[in-house]
């Protein structure tokens, strides 16, 4: 087990990348702490899997280094890295029994038979397959096969890290929950570094201590679920995390005040002058509907079960707000107010810290 450092890392699948667009992964420097549970979150095609494959050594990065602890493993083969990875679709060795499948990584490392038997029994119990250990893997259903893949990923105790590449895609919902809980308890028990790739925010937020959000080949934010929620560093994080995502409005900033289509909105702090496209963002959870404030045009109200969502327009720009239980909406047009401390300011999609000037590129 060791800390994983990505230094100056970038990757392009082309032989001679020209511009920024040719890179599947843009240059990045990141440290993944030993024993951390990370979720790598982002839309499809944003470079999550590429990053994972670089860490496991299946892909060699076009530039930069990968370090495990203090050891440079950039040029080390996958087999030397002692890392476990579970893929999106099940990979089992068809001709082997479930038992042999689980034992395979241990046998390849030359462990002794008694230890293998003990370890396989533990893992089998965890994935609930003790009764079919002697069955051939070939005839099993897709989710049973994926459980074997997961089991194979976790059977080695001395791995540097366990990487999960959207492992629960083919598993049915109730089993998904159960397996995720087991992964979590496994993490607490053994303290392996775990990196879990997903495009499902619930999965990411429930699994990880730290969530890494990727967008177009870039890590846009690495933080706790709370940080991602309260202070998204990039408008993509605001939009991707939360349901519905953050409201964004074109605005002009002067001091501690934002002007949105002539309406003044108070901000929680004073900001320096911004350049480029300026927006303010506020979570629907922090928009209150009341008799005072800015007038909005109501489009519709959606009942999503636990709460209702107001879909409206503010100065021609869409706005979502959470409605408290039992609240009625005035027929003659509602008004909304923003919680000043919860407003974030963005210049060219990147968050501007109060009192700071972030120049747009």
């Amino acid at each position: 087990m060791s800390r994983i450092t990505l230094s100056n890392l970038a990757h392009s699948y082309l032989a001679n990348p020209k511009g920024d667009d040719d890179f599947a992964l843009k240059e990045m420097d990141h440290v993944w702490d030993d024993g951390g549970a990370y979720a790598l979150l982002g839309a499809s095609g944003c470079g999550k899997t590429t990053l994972l494959n670089i860490i496991s050594g299946l892909v060699r990065p076009s530039q930069g280094r990968v370090l495990f602890g203090d050891r440079d493993v950039t040029d080390a083969a996958t087999t030397e890295r002692n890392i476990a990875q579970v893929f999106q679709f099940p990979v089992v060795y068809d001709t082997m029994t479930v038992r042999d499948n689980l034992a395979f990584p241990l046998r390849n490392r030359g462990m002794d038979a008694a230890y293998i038997a003990k370890r396989v029994a533990q893992i089998a119990q965890m994935i609930g397959m003790e009764d079919i250990l002697s069955k051939k893997a070939r005839g099993l259903t897709a989710d049973a096969k994926q459980k074997i893949s997961l089991g194979r990923g976790m059977v080695r105790e001395d791995v540097n890290a366990i990487l999960f590449d959207e492992p629960l895609t083919v598993i049915d919902p109730h089993m998904k929950w159960e397996l995720r809980t087991q992964l979590k308890s496994l993490h607490r028990e053994f303290g392996h570094t775990m990196i879990y790739v997903t495009h499902d925010q619930t999965e990411a937020l429930t699994f990880a201590d730290k969530v890494v959000v990727m967008h177009e080949g870039r890590v846009v934010q690495m933080g706790t679920p709370e940080e991602l929620f309260e202070t998204p560093e990039h408008t993509f994080v605001g939009y991707f995390i939360g349901s519905p995502g953050m409201n964004l409005f074109e605005a002009e900033i002067s001091g501690s005040e934002a002007r949105l289509q002539g309406v003044k909105v108070a901000l929680g702090a004073a900001y320096g002058p911004t350049t480029g496209r300026t927006q303010i963002g506020i979570r629907p959870e922090y928009v209150t509907v009341s008799d005072e404030g800015m007038p909005v045009t109501i489009k519709r109200v959606e009942d999503v079960g636990r709460h209702r969502i107001l879909r409206a327009e503010l100065g021609g720009q869409p706005l979502n707000a959470m409605l408290p239980e039992g609240m009625t909406i005035p027929a003659d047009g509602a008004r909304v107010a923003f919680a000043p401390a919860k407003i974030n300011v963005y210049a060219n999609d990147w968050r501007v810290a109060p009192g700071d000037v972030r120049k747009g590129a």
Binding site: N53, T78, I83, F87, F89, V91, P105, N108, S149
Partner: protein, 290 residues
């Protein structure tokens, strides 16, 4: 929904049935006729019963030919299947060299059988052939027309040259259908090269390999043209395989009765072995789908 039962559709098979009857079934019946009768020409037949069959079953000549045939098929299968797999494993996967290799591999398969025989017949000649002359120049005593061992070696090398490509191409097709994720998982699991072959590649190639073995077995068991052109069954009878012996008996000695009995048994053996293969293959499929 109930399916409409209409067995009139069977009549659609009739044209093919007629065609096959005239091209295959009727000639075969003539053979059957000859196998149970004796004749001195002029379309006059005398009932012989199982006489020809008894004669053939106990004939040393046939036993020897069968022995040589089994040895030949066995040897070429033992060489071509592993060699074909080995070549397929080492072929470049994609790009220019991949296509180049595929074309190169397909070339021997496109050459007509008697041309292959002629090529090797000349290639192996000690006076003008590149191989024969070259070996002689190296001081190796090689002459496929005199020495039975040399004749066998030449025949086997020729067959390997001609047909290994088929096994290689089939194995290659099997290998190409393996998703990349399997290889990645094997690397993650720290599998050795042998384990990758044993647990990933071989199981995925099993289906096509079985077809390759079946095709190569049937073809080699019926082999006629190439050895006939190359050695004519000689020296002596050392490369007289079943079909060569059969042709000698039927068209050389004009022993139509024994030859007919012989060919019927020959036919049954091939049918039987093909059936065994077919059953094995379908059983395998069923097991896989279970």
């Amino acid at each position: 929904m109930d399916k409409t039962q209409n067995n009139k559709a069977w009549f659609l098979v009739l044209p093919v049935l007629l065609l096959v009857a005239f091209s295959a079934v009727l000639p075969l019946m003539t053979v059957v006729n000859y196998a149970f009768n004796d004749t001195f020409g002029q379309n006059e037949f005398f009932w012989e019963g199982l006489g020809w069959f008894e004669e053939m079953v106990t004939s040393d000549r046939l036993h020897d030919a069968l022995g040589r045939q089994i040895l030949f098929s066995g040897i070429i299968l033992l060489i071509e299947v592993p060699l074909g797999i080995f070549i397929a494993l080492n072929m470049p996967g994609k790009g220019f060299w991949g296509s180049f290799c595929l074309v190169l591999m397909a070339l021997p398969l496109l050459i007509p059988f008697n041309v292959v025989g002629t090529i090797w017949q000349i290639f192996g000649r000690v006076d003008i052939g590149l191989l024969g002359h070259g070996l002689a120049a190296l001081g190796i005593d090689y002459n496929y027309t005199n020495d039975p061992i040399d004749a066998w070696v030449t025949l086997i090398v020729m067959d390997v040259w001609h047909w290994t490509s088929l096994v290689a191409l089939l194995a290659y097709a099997g290998l190409q259908s393996i998703p990349q994720a399997y290889y990645q998982a094997a690397r993650i699991d720290q599998a050795t090269r042998w384990s990758v072959f044993r647990y990933i590649e071989l199981p995925k190639m099993k289906g096509v390999l079985l077809i390759a073995v079946l095709l190569r077995f049937m073809d080699s068991f019926m082999i006629y043209t190439e050895p006939f052109v190359l050695t004519g069954g000689g020296p002596g009878n050392s490369t007289t395989f079943l079909s060569i012996d059969l042709a000698k008996m039927a068209t050389g000695q004009f022993d139509l009765g024994p030859a007919a009995a012989f060919s019927l048994m020959y036919f049954c053996v091939i049918l039987l072995i093909s059936w065994v293969f077919y059953t094995a293959m379908t059983n395998l499929d069923r097991e896989e789908n279970r």
